[in-house]
């Protein structure tokens, strides 16, 4: 008998007293963790298939379901933890690369949680956002070193800017990786809140052209869905060099996800794999990047800022400085914890560096070189809440992207199984039976609410610091103190220790 070494990860605990065998969970679970026994006329669970996405728990009308970690204890071993043992079982079985969805989940330090924010007391009044105006407006794009005037007028027009009402945008997630309903939700929410969402590398669905002013269109190594109309559709263009979840690695959308809509939007044949090479094959150096930046500027007649997105890696500061000098108007840094639809697990969990450190290093380097004003700095990968945003801005970011947080607002329960295409919440899937579970109007409302709530919280914290415009927080590292950090960490973050 062949024994499966892998035990289930989760245990489906069905309260037989409560269960009416209505079969709702059977219909709701695309992973087939709930099955119907027609002979016995009962519903039963297949623990092995459960990914713990909570869809069944949330939809069960009698609250009969609980999902638990599978109660299987390995002999204690601080080194050979169950994670490594199970990984080896899987790979010995399949010979394949381990895949994962979402971002790195390892217990590396989260620097956001080691930074504390200041508030005014006595010498400087705090400001009440309910009584006083509190401004979050943000402009992304190159700022000249100085303005010149002629007869009281501007001698030269400003370079193009993206105008945001709040410093939070929705990060790049492609149509293909997420459903059209998810994308539409984000596009509508971005419009509602005066910010932007990002197309990701999958082109722009024809139904989304109407949100152009709130769209950042991405150009990645696969060049999917790119034509002049696409480039001119958004308010800015983002060249994706790398992604925090999988620095140095390309992308692969399996053919089964390339249905008619995706195929048309990506401009590739239906059912064909969409492969994004690891590098752009026309960018093997910084000079090549410059050429692409300027080709895109030419194609859009210098009316759109061009952003370049890189994963936060060891040498980010020098790379960012090169990108600024290559003519980019915005640099996007995506940190170690940035999410993805699918990434090799080992890459996801051990390549790259935390965004907090990369941000601090890049901002400081650009200042040392006196070119900080020539680019805007947007950070992505790990932002969980409004105080993370405040800390990022104080470290020097102009704005943040949120991806994972945005999907959670739409209903994602962080099961990390996005790469299977069976997202029960209708987000990371193209299966029409699943995607229809996400109503774009409702999704938009929830995503907009999240931004609204965070904006309110940011205003509270700003007012507490005696600041009434976000720009006065930007790079204002005196507003931060580090707690439980080494001297070296403090030096890299450019903050003092709490109590100093």
């Amino acid at each position: 008998m062949k024994v499966n070494y892998l035990m289930p990860e989760f245990l489906i605990d069905r309260d037989e007293q409560r269960c009416t065998h209505c079969r709702i969970c059977v219909h709701q679970c695309a992973n087939e963790a709930h099955l119907w026994n027609d002979k016995k006329k009962i519903v039963y669970g297949e623990d092995q298939n459960c990914v713990n996405c909570h869809r069944c728990v949330a939809t069960c009308p009698t609250r009969a379901l609980r999902i638990r970690n599978y109660p299987l204890e390995y002999k204690n071993n601080a080194h050979w933890t169950p994670h490594y043992i199970k990984s080896i079982f899987k790979q010995a079985n399949s010979g394949g690369i381990l895949l994962a969805g979402m971002g790195c989940d390892r217990p590396y330090p989260v620097y956001w949680d080691h930074l504390l924010i200041n508030a005014s007391q006595v010498t400087n009044p705090s400001i009440d956002p309910l009584r006083e105006p509190m401004e979050l407006k943000t402009f992304l794009g190159r700022k000249p070193e100085k303005l010149s005037f002629q007869n009281g007028k501007l001698a030269e027009a400003l370079p193009p800017q993206v105008e945001l009402d709040i410093p939070i945008m929705f990060a790049a997630m492609s149509f293909g990786a997420i459903s059209l309903n998810a994308m539409t939700s984000l596009a509508m929410a971005a419009k509602e809140m005066g910010t932007c969402y990002n197309t990701g590398e999958g082109g722009l669905h024809s139904s989304l052209y109407q949100y152009g002013e709130n769209t950042i269109v991405q150009v990645a190594s696969g060049r999917f869905g790119i034509d002049p109309e696409y480039l001119n559709a958004g308010t800015a263009i983002e060249i994706k060099i790398g992604q925090g979840a999988k620095p140095g690695i390309g992308g692969h959308l399996p053919g089964e996800k390339v249905g008619m809509d995706v195929s048309q939007t990506r401009m590739i044949p239906e059912g064909s794999d969409a492969i994004s090479p690891a590098p752009h094959h026309d960018i093997y150096s910084i000079e090549d990047l410059r050429q692409l930046i300027y080709s895109l500027k030419e194609a859009t007649n210098y009316t759109k800022p061009v952003a370049v997105k890189i994963a936060a890696v060891h040498n980010s500061a020098a790379i960012a400085s090169g990108i600024a000098r290559a003519g980019a108007d915005i640099i996007v840094l995506d940190g170690l914890r940035g999410g993805t639809g699918a990434a090799p697990l080992r890459t996801r969990d051990s390549v790259g560096i935390p965004i907090e450190l990369a941000l601090a290093a890049v901002d400081q380097r650009l200042r040392n070189e006196s070119i900080r004003n020539e680019v805007s700095l947007v950070v992505a990968g790990s932002i969980r809440c409004s105080s993370d945003v405040v800390k990022a801005i104080a470290l020097g970011a102009d704005a943040c992207y949120i991806g994972t947080a945005a999907l959670i607002a739409l209903g994602c329960h962080m099961c990390q199984k996005c790469y299977t295409g069976k997202c029960n919440w209708g987000i990371a899937t193209q299966n029409p039976k699943l995607t229809k579970r996400l109503d774009p109007e409702e999704g938009a409302e929830r995503a907009a609410n999240l931004l609204r709530a965070w904006s309110r919280e940011i205003k509270e914290m700003l007012g507490g610091m005696g600041i009434n415009a976000l720009e006065s927080l930007r790079g204002n590292r005196l507003m931060l103190r580090g707690i439980d950090l080494s001297e070296r960490d403090l030096a890299i973050l450019g903050v003092k220790a709490a109590g100093e």
């Binding site: 700022k143 303005l147 009281g152 415009a469």
Partner: protein, 365 residues
């Protein structure tokens, strides 16, 4: 030992006052001392100072370098450097009189100098920039030596004590100028260092300031990109450099500078006429790191006049008045009425609205 400015950031509350005669008529320091003295309770005896313009007509074309030295060794060292870079016309002690409350004064010296032409050429700089860089060099590289002021036909007089005592100490009633500003300080701890008192100066600029800005580090980190070194960690220092960058180095009109530093709210910008709106929007977009946030009222003095400014939501008091050719600004109305009991016009200055006092015939600061 307590830390001095530059080693620690010390928040302060304060009083400020300024008087100018638009026709350039010279008057003694008596009035400004009386005005700042009335606001005695707004300072705590840990810092007071004055800036005076028009006081050195005999050396009007020389840079007047006012210095503090901790001891004569510092002075000798620094003088070697000064002699190396400037032709010194005259140098000597600044006259002072004994005041019982003023103790532990440093050695206070002044020099009237011209930059050495060949050095200026060699460094390929404008004279002003040459002087500004040397001033920053002295402050950074000569411990125990501090440049108090470095402009032409002007000087700063400051120290640890109540401002009225400092005025007495420096015999300011014996000087005559057309523009005077004054400062009384209420620092939250006791640095006891004369250099840390206001006004802070660079070339012709002098700043007296009341408030604690919350944008300090955002402003500092931006300005340091342009070669400034904020060694004192004070608001006044960073504000002086902001003005110096925008007015002197970038040649921006004063109105644009005020718009950058005390920017109108976006909701107000939206209501402007289209052309004006574009302009203000551009200024706020490009110079957003220079927005000075949090409570402040400042008086920026220069050879050509002054500008007084409040933060944009008016978290600090500032009052202005006019009488004939005189224009007054102060933290409190009483400080103006004390020396001008019956002004032609007196008003409370709105947040972000500058009070500009320019000498007759001058258009920009």
């Amino acid at each position: 030992m307590s830390l001095r400015e530059g080693e620690v950031r010390i928040p302060s509350g304060c009083a400020i006052s300024g008087i100018m005669n638009r026709k350039g008529y010279l008057f003694s320091g008596h009035d400004i001392i009386q005005s700042i003295a009335l606001m005695h309770d707004r300072s705590n005896g840990l810092g007071g100072g004055f800036a005076a313009y028009g006081i050195y007509p005999d050396y009007a074309d020389h840079y007047a370098i006012h210095m503090f030295y901790e001891d004569s060794f510092c002075r000798e060292e620094t003088e070697l450097f000064i002699n190396d870079h400037f032709n010194v016309e005259v140098g000597g002690r600044i006259p002072t009189r004994k005041v019982s409350s003023i103790t532990e004064a440093p050695i206070i010296w002044r020099y009237f100098v011209q930059p050495k032409a060949e050095k200026v050429m060699e460094m390929d700089l404008e004279e002003d920039e040459y002087v500004a860089r040397l001033v920053m060099q002295i402050n950074a590289k000569f411990p125990g030596s501090f440049v108090v002021s470095s402009g032409k036909n002007m000087g700063a007089f400051k120290g640890v004590g109540y401002p009225e005592d400092i005025g007495e100490f420096y015999k300011l009633d014996s000087y005559k100028g057309y523009l005077w500003t004054a400062h009384g300080r209420f620092p939250t701890n006791t640095p006891g260092w004369w250099g840390g008192a206001h006004p802070f100066t660079l070339l012709d600029w002098s700043i007296v300031h009341n408030g604690e800005i919350s944008s300090y580090d955002a402003n500092r980190r931006y300005i340091e990109m342009f070669g400034y070194k904020c060694t004192l960690q004070t608001d006044t220092e960073v504000i002086t450099y902001l003005f110096d960058l925008l007015l002197r180095k970038q040649g921006l009109p004063l109105k644009a500078v005020v718009t950058a530093m005390a920017a109108p709210l976006w909701s107000n910008i939206e209501r402007l006429a289209p052309e004006e709106r574009e302009l203000v929007k551009a200024i706020r977009t490009v110079y957003s790191p220079l927005l000075v946030n949090g409570p402040f009222s400042i008086i920026l003095g220069s050879r050509k006049g002054f500008v007084a400014l409040n933060d944009r939501i008016k978290l600090r008091a500032l009052v202005a008045a006019e009488k004939d050719d005189f224009i007054y600004v102060a933290s409190e109305e009483s400080a103006i009425r004390e020396i001008c009991s019956n002004p032609d016009r007196l008003w409370s200055v709105a947040g972000g609205e500058p009070v500009i006092g320019l000498l007759e015939g001058v258009e920009e600061l």
